[in-house]
Every structure is written in C-alpha cells, then in structure tokens.
Symmetry: C2
Subunit: 170 residues, 2 copies
C-alpha cells in the first residue's frame, strides 16, 4: 500500500473542477468546497460527491436529503477559499459568494457560479472514512460565471472564459 | 428530472483530468479514456472510476480485479483520442502511447503519463447504467509527462507544465 503522502502527491496531478456544495433543510444550512465530484449516469441524470464522515457537511447533507453542486467559474478563487475556511459560518461564507438564488426545492444556488445542479440524494455508500453521495439531478441553473476554476498541483487555474454557457441566466 | 442534454451541457462545465484506464489479466488486456475518476479516501489510499456497463472495459476490469489509472500529461491529446476510438484494438491504442511499463502486479502503465496509479478493486457499486469501481492504490509511478491534460467544454486544455513532479522517473 502506498503512503498517504505519495497518494496525495499523485492525486494533486489530477486537475479537478472546484465546486461549492450547499445544502439547506430541516438539519440546517451549510456549504463547503469540494473537488471530488463526477458524473455517474445520464439517465437518470446523476452525479456523485465524496465527503469525509468527519466533515460538518456530512450529516447535514444526509439528513436534508438534498444538495446543490455549484461549479465555480474562473475568478471565484475567493469563494472557494471562503467555503473551505473552517472558522467561517455559513452566513459568512455565503456573504463572500454574492447573490444566492433558491432552487425549486429550496437549495441555495450561487448566482456567480458557472452552473448549479440541484440534486436529491438517491444513494449513500460508505467507503472507509468517507461517504459517496449519489445525487439525482432535478434542476440545472445556468449561472453568471464565465470560464472554469480548476485545482491542479495545489494551485488554482482559470480555464476558458470566452464563451459563456448559453441558456437561461441566473 | 432534467433532460440528458441539459445534464451533459452542465457537466461539460466541470473541468476534469483526462485519464487512460488500463487493465491486464486473465480476462484480457484493454484500455480506455475516462474522466470520471476521483479520490475517495487517504487511508487506505483509494480512488473511484465510473464505467458504463456496456463498455468493453467494464467486465474486463471486474474480472481482472486490477487496473491502472494513467493521468495524462499536457500534450497527450492524441493518446486520449486513441483510447477513445472504438475501432482501435488495445495494441493499436498502446502503440500511440509510447513506452509501456509493467507495474509490480503486471498492470500496464504509460511512461508518458504524469503519474500512474496501480489499483486493486476493493468494491464494485452498481448505479443504474454504470458501475463505480473503488480501487485501493498499491503503487504510484511518476511518469515522464509534464503538465496536465484537462477536458472542459468539450475541448482539451493544457495546465502547468513548468514544474514536473519530483520522484523516481518512469
């Protein structure tokens, strides 16, 4: 088995989208930055998010049963930072993100993101220290953000930005 | 539920690492390009790969019980293309990739990648049309590739490239 250090260094070589996962409901409102997100199936539209069982987000997400994946845009480095700063409350985090739009199911979408995907949790799979949440996508909101924020070799990178997504604007 | 088209357009907004997944063993040798890869746990080092049940790779991976994730480097657009061209055999695909190194467990690692992660399948989770393969990482090989190949808005992008990973070279 490889060391944690070697594994982390290797995984830093994978460029990843920077996302803010938000949730709201009976268990409470919260949001955190996450890169471990990927699509699973097209029909039904579903994606997965991996979250550490020790993260405050974990139980809130599970108990609310719903979440929103906000795919950050180029230049939202500060938003990513706010949602990964331990000492900031959810209100302080959201204040850094600008306008927030409630999706049809009440989940908080960041208007400045590229796109926001409202999800209902369909399955939770425990894998050691983490849970994989499978979300069925019930709503897609095109945000105002242009270009992508990527994380690679422990630094932010900006991609594209010339052609914003077409569709209904947030 | 959102349409397949809206979902695909939204997921195109997530920049992703471009990886070639390879496998070898009793069931046969094969390789394919995949972007649906992310880390799961640090201890033990594990990652996941999502694969369509209809892909030729699916049963080979499951039956071999082992695979290698080759994280492509900037400039390996052609390798990505070869491993996603339906009509090419595995030998033809590998011929486009340059040198191949056998990992300790016999899995084929691409020397030109940034990094290759040799994995043993620890868990297979069926989710609709796809399976999520959880791999425990048993070996990390630093490749000769520099910078990252990312896929975003249905186009390749090159990231970094100034500072190669340090460590034992392939």
């Amino acid at each position: 088995m490889v060391s944690q250090q070697d594994f982390r260094r290797a995984m830093a070589a994978l460029p990843a989208a920077v996302n803010v996962i938000t949730t709201d409901g009976g268990a409470g409102r919260h949001g955190m930055t996450a890169t471990a997100v990927c699509s699973v199936t097209d029909e039904p539209a579903s994606l997965l998010v991996c979250i550490n069982k020790n993260a405050r987000m974990h139980d809130l997400l599970r108990d609310n049963g719903r979440f929103c994946v906000n795919v950050l845009a180029a230049g939202q480095d500060g938003v990513s930072g706010a949602f990964s700063t331990r000492d900031l409350s959810i209100d302080e985090r959201l204040a850094q993100a600008g306008a927030v739009i409630a999706l049809d199911d009440g989940q908080p979408a960041l208007a400045g993101a590229q796109v926001a995907l409202g999800c209902r949790i369909a399955q939770v799979i425990a894998v050691g220290t983490h849970s994989i949440f499978i979300g069925e996508v019930e709503q897609v909101l095109i945000g105002q953000g242009v270009g992508a924020l990527a994380y690679y070799e422990r630094a932010y990178h900006h991609l594209g930005g010339a052609a914003p997504l077409s569709g209904a604007r947030a």
